[in-house]
């Protein structure tokens, strides 16, 4: 029977939410083609992950384990997965569009002569054997519908938050694999630094509050962090705020920063340039706080307050705090 694979993403030993989202997406395809949904772990030691994966409908769990896979290395991971693909020939492979997956899946596609699209916002089957995905191009400015043609496997990464995880408990069969990994002499990891995050990741957050040039200083960004924390939101910024040195580049939202699509995006002291909008225009609800009634952002948001952010934000933060 044909299989749909879902790669398991972990972070500090825990399965990340995006894995459950993608398992839910895979079940949508299964309804049409009846394939078996399998979760695929790659690493040094899976532990008993099958329980959690089974909750979201993984009928099979492949554990690809090898001590050489302890630390992420794109060539080694690509080798491991490609070997297992060649022996089990899944038709469709899905994975979260995480930085790690983006770093090695293109190699897998080359090794297995697969079709690949990254960062799908929706997936479907247009016939029993043709995968069809939707993805943004030109940041948020257009959406393409893309079909795969006479190619196997068909691989796609799926944007975090694009699917809501829905439980559907089954009890998975476990398959263990331990492929040989050729030594990787040409790449050596010298150091990995994980900075404990105070707030959700921008690309995965369902609420984001961003500050722009109007926030005026690095110190004032405390206002943005405080209001973000009051509703558990991620904190972002416009390029002007980054270029002015208020906050680091990791926080930049836009065509040359992070492209995000949360349920709620609040833009504070941001005018709403084409490039900023290209990175957040697909958000479900957009709110703007700006003192200029003619700011372009007021022409493309759902709600707004025309006022001085230094007066509005403290008051709004207090109101948000009352909600919890």
């Amino acid at each position: 029977m044909s299989e749909i694979w879902v790669l398991v993403d972990t972070s500090q030993g825990k399965i990340r939410n995006v894995t459950y989202e993608v398992l839910t997406a895979a079940r949508k395809l299964k309804e049409k083609n009846g394939a078996t949904v399998a979760a695929v772990y790659i690493g040094d030691s899976a532990g008993s992950i099958e329980g959690d994966l089974g909750k979201y409908g993984a009928e099979k769990v492949y554990k690809i384990e090898n001590p050489a896979l302890k630390e992420f290395n794109p060539s080694a991971y690509a080798h491991a997965l490609s070997e297992i693909i060649k022996s089990h020939t899944p038709e469709i492979i899905l994975a979260g569009n995480t930085l790690q997956n983006q770093d090695f899946i293109p190699r897998v596609a080359s090794k297995t002569s697969a079709g690949l699209t990254l960062d799908a916002i929706d997936i479907d089957l247009s016939s029993s054997s043709t995968l069809q995905v939707k993805r943004y191009r030109y940041s948020g400015k257009s959406i393409s519908t893309i079909s795969y043609h006479d190619v196997k496997p068909m691989i796609a990464t799926v944007r975090p938050n694009a699917f809501k995880p829905v439980e559907n408990e089954v009890s998975p069969e476990v398959v263990s694999e331990s492929p040989d990994i050729p030594s990787q002499d040409n790449i050596k990891v010298l150091e990995t630094k994980i900075t404990p995050k105070e707030r959700p990741e921008l690309t995965e957050a369902d609420k984001i509050i961003s500050g722009g040039r109007g926030v005026a200083s690095s110190e004032n960004f405390k206002l943005i962090f405080d209001i973000a924390d009051s509703i558990g939101a991620a904190a972002g910024a416009s390029r002007a705020a980054v270029d002015s040195g208020f906050v680091p580049y990791e926080m930049q939202v836009g065509q040359t920063g992070k492209v995000v699509s949360p349920n709620l995006y609040i833009a504070i002291g941001i005018s709403g340039s084409v490039q900023h909008y290209a990175g957040m225009g697909s958000s479900k609800v957009i709110v703007a706080i700006n003192k200029d009634p003619d700011a372009p952002i007021f022409q493309k948001c759902d709600y707004g307050i025309c006022g001085d952010l230094f007066e509005v934000i403290p008051a709004l933060t207090e109101e948000f705090k009352k909600l919890s």
């Binding site: 972070s11 992420f72 690509a78 995480t98 930085l99 983006q102 770093d103 293109p106 190699r107 596609a109 080359s110 090794k111 697969a114 079709g115 690949l116 990254l118 960062d119 191009r137 030109y138 940041s139 400015k141 257009s142 959406i143 393409s144 893309i146 079909s147 795969y148 043609h149 190619v151 040409n186 790449i187 010298l190 990995t192 630094k193 900075t195 995050k197 990741e201 580049y249 065509q255 040359t256 709620l264 225009g281 697909s282 479900k284 709110v287 703007a288 009634p293 022409q299 948001c301 759902d302 709600y303 707004g304 307050i305 006022g307 509005v312 008051a315 709004l316 207090e318 109101e319 948000f320």
Partner: protein, 283 residues
Amino acid sequence: MGGFSLKILVIVRQTPDTEAKIQANADNNGIETSSIKWILNPFDEFAVEEAVKIKESSDAEVVMLTVGPERSVEVLRTALAMGGDSSIHIKDENFGDMDSYALAKVIASKIKSIGDVDLILTGKKWIDEESGQVAIQVAEELGIPQATLATKVDVNEASKSVKVQSEIEGGQRIVELTFPAMISCERGLNEPRYASLPGIMKAKKKPLEEVLIDSIDIDELGLTKEGLGSEGSRIKVDSIEIPVIKRSLKILKGGKSDMVQADEVQKASDDLVKLLREEAKII
């Protein structure tokens, strides 16, 4: 010629300007390009800058390479004006029909034929396709290691290796790659210079090699003629739509002027929270 101790190749691409208004073409399977202004992909600027910086502090030769139609020669001129030594234009008038799998094979095959390339630099993604896969697939085709999203690059000429600091999920990582190696560049790596007037003048005299896409031995690459065009692509764009999200445009303003005044801020905040809760049902 010859005698350089380091050869760096920079892969660059021409993309629409970030201000460009994107509209669907008549067939609805691509964008309307007639009124678009084209620029050097902003992320590729970091790659060009880094290559030129390395050249300034070592004995390196910097070669620029692009694939695209006639007009894309402009990005080679820009990159040469920033300080590259020579350039290669793989000409493809039907550019855009090729999928990234085929594109990576074409680029890798050209790099193989140049030989002795130590370091390949490119941007982390194209701002148009947003795909982020070509660089990695070129590395795979060449059998060389890669570091993506580089924010710091430290070349060691003597040991023929490079240390790269990259963004990873939730943090940073430093890897050491042995040449030949591929690096994709992230913002923050450097501040790209502007092409100076003398730079632009000099660029006009720098070598530009043109290669017709048809002259590349695609059988060798495991591709068919169709594989280079839309017919044989593994993936194909069926349609393109311009998302129009209707926004409610409910802006709370002041009683006396557009701006809410200090004594109106409390009410405006209350009202906004109510709208988000009861109408948008989002908090």
